[in-house]
C-alpha cells in the first residue's frame, strides 16, 4: 500500500521528472513528507512565484515539462502569474497544488481557494482530484496535454486527505489521447510553391513554434533553400543563425528597421510557428497590408487571430516543414536577389553609430561577444529586455529566454535558477532591470543556497524605464509613479545574501575599443565559478529604439529621439 503522495511522486518519476520547484505549506505537507527518498530533487524557492518561474526556466531551456508545487490558498494563487505566462508562451508546465481536505471543499476553509476555477482560463487542462484512485491517470493525462501539440500549463489540485490516503499501486498508467492531431492537407505544398512562384517580395517570419517542435534543423535547411528575407519574433531568436545572409533580426515593436520595413512591404508572408502578438504586428488593421499569408502552425486556434491567412499548414512543423521542403526541391523559384538586397541593404541598417554607442547596448554587446556558444541569456521585462533581444547574436535556439507574451516583471531571476539547474555546464546570464529584480529579489537566497554560478546584471536606471519611455513619448513627460530613485543599494543587498557584487558606471562603456580595465571586469565576471551580480548604472533618459508606437503600423517606427 502506498500513500497518495508517494503515488504522485512515483508517477512524476515515471514521466521523467527529476527536478521540481516549490514551497511547502499545510495542505501539501504530505507530499513534502514523501519527498525524501523519492528520487526527485526539490528546489526550495523563497516564493511560489519564484518556483513557477524557475520551473518555466527549466522547461524553456530543455523543452521538458517543468513542475512547480505549492500549497492551497495563497500558495496556489501565487502560482497564477507563472501559469498565465506559460499559457502565453506555450511552455510545458505542471503545477501541483495541495487542497484542503475533501469534505471541507466549498466551505471556505482555512487556506482554501478554488484554484481549479481560478486557473480554468489560464490552463490547457486541469483537474481537481476526487479520489486517490484517480491520481495515476490524472498525472499521466496532465503530462500528456502539457507537452503535446502547443504545449501549455496544467494544474492538478489534490486534496490533502487524498495525499495521505493509501491504496495498492501497481505502476504507471499510460494515457492514450482520444483525438489524433489533424494531418496537413496533401496539396498545401503545391499551393505554397505556386504562391512563391508568383511572389515578388516574399519574407519568412520565425516564431517559437520552430524550436518547440524540434524543427530547427529542418527549418534552417528550408530557409537556406528559400533564401528570402527572414526575421524572428523575440521567442524565435536563435532559430535562425544571425550570420545567415538573409536574416534581418528581430521584428515588431522594437524590431529592426530592416525587418519591420520588409514585413510592411512583403507580398508573401510565410509564418513559421508564431501567433502574431500585437507587439509583432503593430496596428493589426495595417499589418503586412500587401501580403498573402501562409501560416505553418500546430494549433489551429492561433490562425487568423489578426488577419485571415490565405493558406494554413496545420501540423507539427517537424513534419510539415520537411514535407514542404521535399516538394520544393522539385520546383524552380524566381530570382529574388534584388528584393533581398533591398531588404537587407545598408540604408535600412538597424541602428546608427549613435545608437550602438549607447552604454547599455555596449555593455550587452561586450558581454554577449564573450559568452560561450552554449550560453543562455535570461531577460526580464522592460527596456533591458528589448536591448538584450536586439543585440542577441547567438544561433542557439533555446539560448534567449524571456517572458514575451505576458511580459511578467520578476521573471528573469527565478527563471535563471531553473535554467542553470537544467544546464549546469552552461553560462547563464540573467539580465534584469531595477524594477523587475525587486519583484523576485528573494530568489538571491536560492541562488546562494545552491551556489548557482548565474551571472546577474541589473540595468539600474532608477526608473521603471519602459513605462517612463512611454510617458516621455506618449504621455507628455508626465512621469507618474515611475521614479525609483530611492532604490536600495543592490550591491549591498547582494552582499547580504553573500553574493559577490560590483557596480559599473556608464563611463566604463564609453571607450572605443573598450578599456582593458572594463574588459577585465567583464571577463572576470563571466569566468567566475560563483554567482555574481553586476549593477550597471544606466542613464535614466536612455530609450529603446527603433520603436513602433502602439496603434501605429510597423512602417511608422521611431528611429531615434525627435
Amino acid at each position: 500500500m502506498l500513500k497518495g503522495a508517494e503515488i504522485v511522486l512515483r508517477c512524476l518519476r515515471a514521466e521523467g521528472v527529476e527536478l521540481v520547484f516549490g514551497y511547502p505549506g499545510g495542505a501539501i505537507m504530505p507530499l513534502y513528507d514523501a519527498l525524501v527518498g523519492s528520487g526527485i530533487k526539490h528546489i526550495l524557492t523563497r516564493h511560489e512565484q519564484g518556483a513557477v518561474f524557475a520551473a518555466e526556466g527549466q522547461a524553456r531551456a530543455t523543452g521538458q515539462v517543468g513542475v512547480a508545487i505549492a500549497t492551497s490558498g495563497p500558495g496556489a494563487t501565487n502560482l497564477v502569474t507563472g501559469i498565465a505566462d506559460a499559457k502565453m508562451d506555450s511552455v510545458p508546465l505542471v503545477c501541483i497544488t495541495g487542497q484542503v481536505r475533501s469534505h471541507l471543499i466549498g466551505s471556505d476553509a482555512f487556506q482554501e481557494t478554488d484554484v481549479f476555477g481560478l486557473t480554468l482560463s489560464l490552463t490547457k487542462w486541469s483537474r481537481l482530484v476526487r479520489t486517490i484512485e484517480e491520481i495515476p491517470a490524472v498525472i499521466a493525462e496532465g503530462f500528456h496535454w502539457a507537452r503535446s501539440g502547443r504545449p501549455g500549463p496544467v494544474v492538478l489540485d489534490i486534496p490533502t486527505d487524498l495525499l495521505k490516503a493509501k491504496m495498492e499501486f501497481t505502476g504507471r498508467v499510460k494515457f492514450y489521447p482520444p483525438v489524433q492531431p489533424a494531418k496537413p492537407a496533401s496539396d498545401t505544398s503545391k499551393t505554397l510553391i505556386s504562391l512563391l512562384q508568383k511572389a515578388k517580395r516574399p519574407v519568412a517570419l520565425v516564431g517559437a513554434g520552430a524550436k518547440i517542435s524540434g524543427a530547427i534543423a529542418d527549418l534552417r535547411q528550408l530557409l537556406d533553400a528559400l533564401n528570402i528575407p527572414t526575421f524572428a519574433t523575440v521567442h524565435g531568436l536563435g532559430a535562425v543563425p544571425p550570420s545567415s545572409p538573409y536574416y534581418l533580426g528581430m521584428v515588431g515593436m522594437h524590431g529592426t528597421r530592416a525587418a519591420n520595413t520588409a514585413l510592411h512591404e512583403t507580398d508573401l508572408l510565410l509564418i513559421f510557428g508564431a501567433r502574431l502578438d500585437d507587439r509583432v504586428t503593430g496596428e493589426p488593421s495595417r499589418f503586412a497590408p500587401h501580403a498573402c499569408i501562409v501560416h505553418f502552425e500546430v494549433d489551429p486556434a492561433q490562425l487568423d487571430r489578426v488577419r485571415p491567412c490565405e493558406l494554413a499548414v496545420i501540423g507539427d512543423m517537424a513534419e510539415t516543414v520537411p514535407a514542404f521542403h521535399e516538394e520544393l526541391r522539385h520546383a524552380s523559384l524566381p530570382d529574388w536577389s534584388d528584393w533581398r538586397g533591398l531588404a537587407g541593404g545598408p540604408e535600412r541598417a538597424e541602428l546608427d553609430s549613435r545608437g550602438l554607442a549607447q552604454p547599455t547596448i555596449r555593455l550587452l554587446d561586450e558581454l554577449f561577444k564573450r559568452l560561450p556558444e552554449n550560453s543562455v541569456v535570461v531577460a526580464d521585462v522592460g527596456q533591458h529586455q528589448m536591448w538584450a533581444a536586439q543585440r542577441y547574436r547567438s544561433s542557439s535556439p533555446r539560448g534567449f529566454i524571456t517572458s514575451g507574451g505576458l511580459g511578467a516583471m520578476g521573471f528573469a531571476l527565478p527563471a535563471a535558477v531553473g535554467v542553470q539547474l537544467a544546464k549546469p555546464g552552461a553560462t547563464v546570464l540573467c539580465v534584469s532591470g531595477d524594477g523587475g529584480i525587486q519583484m523576485n529579489i528573494q530568489e538571491l537566497a536560492t541562488v546562494r543556497r545552491l551556489n548557482l554560478p548565474i551571472k546577474m546584471i541589473i540595468v539600474d536606471n532608477k526608473y521603471l524605464g519602459m513605462v517612463r519611455q512611454w510617458q516621455q513619448l506618449f504621455y507628455q513627460r508626465n512621469y507618474a509613479e515611475t521614479d525609483l530613485s530611492d532604490n536600495p543599494d543592490f550591491v549591498e543587498i547582494a552582499k547580504a545574501y553573500r553574493i559577490n557584487a560590483l557596480r559599473l558606471g556608464e563611463e566604463a562603456m564609453t571607450d572605443f575599443p573598450l578599456s582593458s580595465g572594463a574588459g577585465s571586469v567583464l571577463d572576470d565576471f563571466l569566468k567566475s565559478s560563483e554567482p555574481e551580480l553586476l549593477v550597471f548604472d544606466c542613464h535614466p533618459d536612455a530609450n529603446v529604439y527603433p520603436m513602433v508606437p502602439a496603434g501605429a503600423a510597423l512602417s511608422e517606427m521611431l528611429l531615434e529621439e525627435e
Partner: protein, 109 residues
C-alpha cells in the same frame, strides 16, 4: 445573432472553458443550453458576434481538450424567442429568500 452547437466530453471544467471563451471577450450569452447527447454532451449558445469573432471562438473551442465538434448556424425562430426572454433578474434571487430556512437546514444537516 448566431447559434453555436458545441459537442464535448463532459469532463471537469470543459463546459466552463467553453463559456469562458465567450465571456472573456465580453460577449453576452442570452441563451445557453447544455444537455447530454448520447455519449457526449452538447451546449448550444446564442451569441451576438461578428465574423472575426466567429472564427476566433470556433478555434478557441476546438483548442479545448475535450471539445469534439463545433458548428454554427442561424438560430431557429424558437431559439431566438427564448433568448429574448433573457432579462435582468433581481439579486439575491427571490428563491433565496423564500426557501432560506430550508437552505439553512440543508447546510447544517
Amino acid at each position: 445573432m448566431h447559434a453555436f452547437h458545441i459537442r464535448y466530453r463532459n469532463t471537469q471544467g470543459t463546459l466552463m472553458r467553453i463559456l469562458n471563451a465567450a465571456s472573456r471577450r465580453g460577449i453576452d450569452m442570452p441563451y445557453v443550453q447544455a444537455s447530454p447527447l448520447s455519449e457526449a454532451h452538447t451546449v448550444t449558445l446564442l451569441l451576438e458576434v461578428n465574423a472575426k469573432q466567429i472564427g476566433q471562438l470556433s478555434r478557441d473551442w476546438y483548442a479545448i481538450v475535450d471539445v469534439t465538434d463545433v458548428r454554427s448556424d442561424i438560430p431557429s425562430k424558437d431559439l431566438a424567442e427564448k433568448s429574448e426572454a433573457w432579462a435582468a433578474a433581481p439579486h439575491p434571487p427571490s428563491s433565496a429568500v423564500s426557501s432560506g430556512s430550508s437552505l439553512s437546514s440543508a447546510a447544517t444537516a
